[in-house]
Amino acid sequence: MKRTLFRNQLLPWLLLAPQLAITFIFFLWPAAQAVRQSFLRQDAFGINTTFVGLSNFKALWNSPEYLNSLQVTAIFAVLVTVLSMGFALLLAVAVDRMIRSTSVYTTLLVWPYAVAPAVAGILWWFIFNPTIGVMPYFLDVIGYDWNHISSKSDAMTLVVIASAWKQISYNFLFFVAGLQSVPASLREAAAIDGAGPVRRFFDITVPLLSPTTFFLLVVNIVYAMFDTFGVIDATTEGGPAQATNILVYKVYFDGFVGQNMGSSAAQSVILMLIVIALTVVQFRYVEKKVAY
């Protein structure tokens, strides 16, 4: 670790000030507001306010909808992470083995990352629209009646595909970089010892990629839990029958549509705790295992 020493005590603070100000105004202050609000019960217009202690949290604990949302979020996050990382690794390995035009493929594969989640959602919504979409037409040919408006599993499939597709690009870039840092000498040595390509991949590449994989795992879980709001809002709006109502969408819906500020704030406090936990895990493990 490199250390820079400042003679002047004030200068480092001055240099940090803009970032600190932004952190305070856009992160700490709203977070404090959310914590405060989570202990209050308030009508929509903010005319009557009562301190209710932990009752907003208790109500969540007893709410089947909230418990359902926790479960939905877990399933969704796991599916998005596995799917996007799996495909990304597959593509990265394929590109890594290419001799020519690697950069062309890399550029093309990174494109979807530039698409905003809401736009990605709309795109897939069109492709899978039961009335005008092209996929339901083909699925109908093989005898599957696709309808994400009434089928819970179809709706979940749609939002998982839309969310994972977008994230593949990001994961792909990291995997390509990770693969390039795996020393070729190790693979060659293994090859000389008689290990086949599959064996080499699992015994050499996978272990050496593990810091990248672990980092991506945390990033993808955070992505699936928070950044996919746009996808959900543009496609299923949490339906049908709450089947795709992930935690972050529920915070928005209960707070902004339902005008239940107390419950919405309590839910965002819980989400905040989840993020803190994930961040701690990431720093504990990644910082120890990865040498940047």
């Binding site: 019960r41 308030q42 009508d43 929509a44 217009f45 903010g46 005319i47 009557n48 039961p130 009335t131 005008i132 408006i149 009434s150 819970k152 339906g239 049908p240 029958a241 709450q242 209960d254 902004f256 549509v257 339902g258 005008q259 239940n260 107390g262």
Partner: protein, 437 residues
């Protein structure tokens, strides 16, 4: 040249000071597209008619977005004087004492020309308190009716000029249509909540909740798991299984209209304000109009249907001269000319008797345009058919959709689904009650 500049400068200053002398009134609304353009035209008519006030309409997005924006603005003390709120937000707005100025009170305080008797009770009843005082001014109101495909009716050997009157007839017609191959599905519908639950209850004079469907206060609770509603949901499930009825999706049922336009379904229950859209899209067939069907074994049916749409609420905390302007503007909006213009353009219902009389010529020339107004004025509204008013109702509508989907998927029966609507809905209503104590 310099003179010209000086003159235009003077003119500019003069026009600015004239603008400053005018009192500006902010109006936040949720009317996009052509309706929004018409709304601005109407507002311009008011602004040009006098010098003192200038109403500034601003489009704020969907109904929930507009309401949310107004509430957030109120919390930040930046609220507009007038906001358009959809009918299910009525409970929330009404409970916000201190945040709103009831329209009857505003008109009285400002000495405006305001006769509550001039308004149609079936329309304004939704927005009055139990004493009959108008709380908000209905702006765009509609009611669900039946649109049917006359061409398909003819192909199936049915009389194209006779829409089904009862649910038994609707089923009989649908079966004939499907069996003859004229269309693959009998009927579809918008809004399971608004049409197949709330309006079904009112149309059969069945209570939706206690305390006059919530008009009596925030202690009211839902009771829409009665025998008529259960029987109807059971029927819808059965007809859906038989392929006679096709579900168009939650909330407004976005997939219902394409099924009717593509002649897949022969009948379509939808808002009377959808008429223009239906005509524009019904390219290959002729459209007929009918009232909602009813069960003829239910006593008191048909009663009258209830409205949907939105009304204009006046928010508190603005200077008095703005309220004087709002009162003037509401007077203008209620005139028969403005009402008739708006209603004939949009398909929304007129709010006064005078406007309705003015529209008789238009209704004569446009068959079906008066089906909605006939239906809501069919009988004097009862406690069960005035409308409904519950807190957190936006979410309760969502619950109705969810439970209906559970019914369709077979994981619940009609009684179980409606019991769950009542149980989950009442929990939200109780929450609302404690928030507003």
């Amino acid at each position: 040249m310099n003179k010209l500049f000086a003159a235009s400068g003077v003119a500019l200053i003069a026009s600015l000071s004239a603008a400053n002398a005018q009192t500006e009134i902010q109006w936040w609304h949720a009317m996009g597209g052509e309706l929004g353009a018409k709304l601005e035209e109407i507002t311009k008519g008011f602004n040009d008619s006098q010098q003192e006030y200038r109403v500034v309409p601003s489009y704020k997005g969907t109904y929930p977005e507009t309401m949310t924006a107004a509430i957030a603005a109120f919390r930040a003390q930046q609220q507009p004087a007038i906001v358009q709120v959809f009918e299910v937000g009525t409970g929330t707005m009404m409970a916000a004492q201190g945040a709103i100025v009831p329209v009857h009170q505003l008109m009285q305080e400002q000495g405006a020309n305001f006769d509550p008797q001039a308004y149609l009770p079936a329309v304004v009843g939704y927005y009055t308190d139990t004493d009959g005082n108008m709380l908000s001014l209905p702006f765009n109101s509609s009611t669900p009716i039946v649109y049917y495909n006359k061409t398909v009716f003819e192909k199936a050997g049915l009389d194209p000029n006779t829409p089904p009157k009862t649910w038994a007839e609707l089923e009989e017609f649908s079966t004939k249509i499907r069996d003859s191959g004229a269309a693959t599905c009998g009927f579809t519908t918008q809004w399971i909540s608004w049409i197949q639950t709330e309006n079904l209850s009112a149309w059969h004079n069945q209570p939706i909740g206690t305390e006059q469907n919530g008009f009596g206060g925030t202690s009211a609770r839902l009771t829409l798991n009665g025998p008529v509603q259960v029987k109807h949901w059971e029927n819808l499930k059965r007809l859906s299984d038989e392929g006679i009825f096709k579900y168009g999706g939650p909330v407004g049922g976005d997939n219902a209209a394409p099924m009717f336009y593509s002649q897949e379904c022969a009948m379509y229950m939808a808002s009377s304000a959808s008429r223009a859209g239906v005509i524009a899209n019904a390219k290959d067939f002729e459209v007929g109009y009918g009232m909602l069907p009813y069960y003829d074994d239910v006593e008191g049916a048909p009663q009258n249907s209830i409205i949907g749409g939105a009304s204009l609420w006046v928010l508190a905390g603005k200077p008095d001269e703005e309220y004087a302007g709002v009162a003037k503007f509401f007077e203008y909006l209620s005139t028969p000319e403005v009402q008739a213009d708006w209603a004939s353009f949009s398909g929304y219902l007129p709010i006064t008797q005078a406007a309705m009389d003015q529209l008789s010529g238009f209704y004569g020339e446009n068959p079906g345009a008066d089906t909605g107004i006939k239906q809501i004025t069919l009988n004097e509204p009862t406690e069960n058919s005035k409308g409904l008013r519950f807190g957190n109702y936006v979410q309760i509508r969502g619950i109705i959709d969810e439970e209906f989907e559970q019914l369709l998927s077979g994981s619940k029966d009609a009684q179980g689904a409606l019991d769950a609507v009542v149980e989950r809905g009442n929990a939200l209503i109780a929450e609302f009650e404690t928030q507003n104590q």
